[in-house]
Amino acid sequence: MSRPKLAGAANSRPALAPELLVEMHDLMVKARALEERLIQMYKQGDGFFWIGGPGEEAFNVPLGLLIKKGSGLDYDYLHFHYRNSATLIAMGEDPANPMRQMKNTATDPYSGGRNFAGHFSKREWNLAPVTSPIAVQYSIAIGTAYAQKRHGGEGITIVTGGDAGTAEGDFATCLVWSSRPGNELPILIIVTHNKWGISTHYSTQQGPKNIADRATAFGIKNKTIDGNDAITSYLEIKAAMDYVRKERKPFLLEAHVSRLYGHSSADGANRRPEEEDCIVRIEEVLLEHGIMTREQMDAVHEKWQKEMAELHRKVREEPQPNPEDVWKHIYWEGEGS
């Protein structure tokens, strides 16, 4: 049995407290276990289609931890794309819910069995419905950000999307509207750059060396970071968020991440060995600094895999929607608005 290395043995201490690293690791592994379970559900016929975020945990978990979670203008508004499961897990979401959506059960709290996996929506957390059309969230996010600009306080708007989608006009719309002179918006514009749009490599389609550079002409602060490094991610997201919260101005953060199981079930949802695994990366740090042992980490993996398998069994038994449900919620059925 290996023992933790002495903390002093490492070159320099990690920039984040050990407890936080242990928590982040736990959430990253949990999120990964969820996604791997979702893929398994697909492969076992417990769902028609899988798309999700395995490979983005090092970025998406700290993002979730740093979000000001709640409802209304004082909290962060979230306009995510379909790879943000780890952010939800870090925010405390019950992993049974993504499974419900995967299996399109009537109990799916995001869409009632209507939408694809990864298409979250949670109004109590200001989480806008994830949309299938790529990049439209960039055009919509300016609206919540504008309301928050007027409202003041510390609530901000956070929007995420992929690299290929920045070719859509909506991404430019976001830059234009976020930087109107005198109306600069408190918006954190995120691009998770995994180098791919389905089968098409970024380098074959887009000229910008860094996508973040596109913000410069608009006077929008920006940075490109290694999103596979959980510590870097945490620190850079925090710095960017602090700026947006305090200055009430936009920031564009581009994070390089991995697409660990390909695009979606449409291209097989199999592990891609050529992609770097951010969990391996944080585990190296944890090991090197003697924060966790291999055994401890293995136990974390086991715990969550077991938990996910159990949840899967439970969700499998939940009811499917009824045909007449299609007529519900065409218009608002709630109180007031």
């Binding site: 209304g72 203008l73 508004y77 799916d108 709290p109 995001y110 869409s111 009632g112 209507r114 939408n115 298409h119 929506s121 949670k122 109004r123 806008a128 419905p129 949309t131 059309p133 439209v136 960039y138 055009s139 919509i140 996010a141 300016i142 609206g143 919540t144 950000a145 504008y146 309301a147 928050q148 708007t157 006009g169 909506d170 719309t173 234009v176 509207w177 109107r180 519900k328 919620h329 065409i330 218009y331 608002w332 059925e333 709630g334 007031g336 608005s337």
Partner: protein
């Protein structure tokens, strides 16, 4: 008597002050211009946007998500066609989220021909819009209806598309908006921005009152016994003129202004057709896959056996655009004569 642009302005003012409207925005909507049709002059919450229709609709959706009550303008309906995906999204957000999110937003965009607007200031939008579920869609033909429908649109917790006909924007109504001064010159002095420097101008708002035209309720413009004509938007006054022409010929037309495209007042149509046995639908959108064709289908489905003649459609020609020259425009969208001729033919049809 306010014209339609003034009526909309008064409604938006009422909305700002009493119904929680937070943002009235779009290209040239704020000062100094106050809208290319002056419909947003002097409003407290009006502001100018970048020249980007996708941003305008996206902003409206986001504002609505954040609990605001926006009224967004697309300057001319002709320029809304690059936002259809966002309109569809606004229409499916409540449904897709299984009822979690609602979007209390209004989009206003002037429609139709009749202002010598050539290819890109003449588009109708009711046909395409009626094919997008999740919205309510209204189209006033008088200033008072514009006022009352705008109030309903603002109050509605769902997205509402408000389609004022361009050609009627400067038409004066015959009814006073509750609270409006009797003398239109007085109204103009109070709320129309001056020519020239407007930087110091402020409107004086008349104490307009709540007046609601419910969405989904048609208006009987003219009762009649021999045939039913259902029109909307600019075709309402045209059909009315035609109906009046026909009076002398002993043809008695019942004219219904649909006012709401979706949901629409099927009861009003049904009751009238059951009485007359003959029906004609008139609108200026192009005629192929036209909303009037939906109404014909429904008429056929539900009223086939009371019909004394085949239902008729009078609509815009299936052309790529409306030409600038007078003869071209007149040949492209319904004119009084064409409507009157169609009424005559329908009246003459023997079962």
């Amino acid at each position: 008597m306010a014209n339609m642009a003034q009526a909309i302005r008064l409604a938006l003012h009422y909305g700002e002050e009493h119904l929680g409207v937070t943002d009235i925005f779009g290209e040239d909507v704020g000062p100094p211009l106050g809208g290319v049709f002056t419909a947003t002059q002097g409003l407290r919450t009006a502001w100018n946007s970048p020249l980007d229709e996708r941003g305008i609709i996206g902003m409206a959706i986001g504002l609505a998500m954040a609990g605001q009550r926006p009224v967004a303008e697309i300057q001319f309906a002709d320029y809304i066609y690059n936002t259809i995906d966002l309109l569809k999204l606004a229409g499916n957000t409540c449904w897709s989220s299984n009822g979690q999110w609602n979007l209390p937003m209004v989009v206003m965009t002037p429609v139709g021909a009749g202002i010598r607007g050539s290819i890109y200031h003449s588009h109708s939008f009711d046909a395409v819009m009626s094919h997008i579920p999740g919205w309510k869609i209204v189209m006033p033909a008088t200033p008072l209806d514009a006022y009352g429908l705008m109030l309903s649109a603002i109050k509605d917790p769902n997205p509402v598309m408000f389609l004022p006909p361009k050609a009627l924007m400067r038409h004066r109504g015959e009814e006073l908006i509750p609270g409006e001064p009797e003398d239109p010159r007085e109204l103009s002095k109070m709320i129309d921005a001056p020519v020239g420097d407007r930087s110091k101008w402020k409107p004086t708002w008349p104490p307009v009152e709540e007046y609601v035209v419910p969405i989904g309720k048609a208006k009987l413009v003219r009762p009649g016994s021999q045939l039913t004509v259902v029109a909307w938007g600019r075709c309402v006054p045209l059909a009315l003129q035609a109906a009046k022409q026909l009076e002398g010929e002993g043809i008695d037309v019942e004219l219904i202004d649909l006012r709401s495209i979706w949901p629409y007042d099927w009861e009003a149509i049904r009751a009238s057709v059951e009485k007359t046995g003959k029906v004609m639908f008139v609108n200026e959108d192009t005629e192929v896959t036209n909303f009037g064709e939906h109404l014909i289908r429904r008429t056929i489905e539900e009223l086939f056996y009371v019909l004394l003649a085949p239902p008729k459609l009078v609509a815009g020609k299936h052309l790529p655009g409306i030409g600038l020259a007078d003869a071209l425009e007149r040949a492209s969208v319904p004119q009084v004569e064409e409507i009157a001729e169609a009424m005559r033919a329908l009246a003459r049809t023997e079962p």
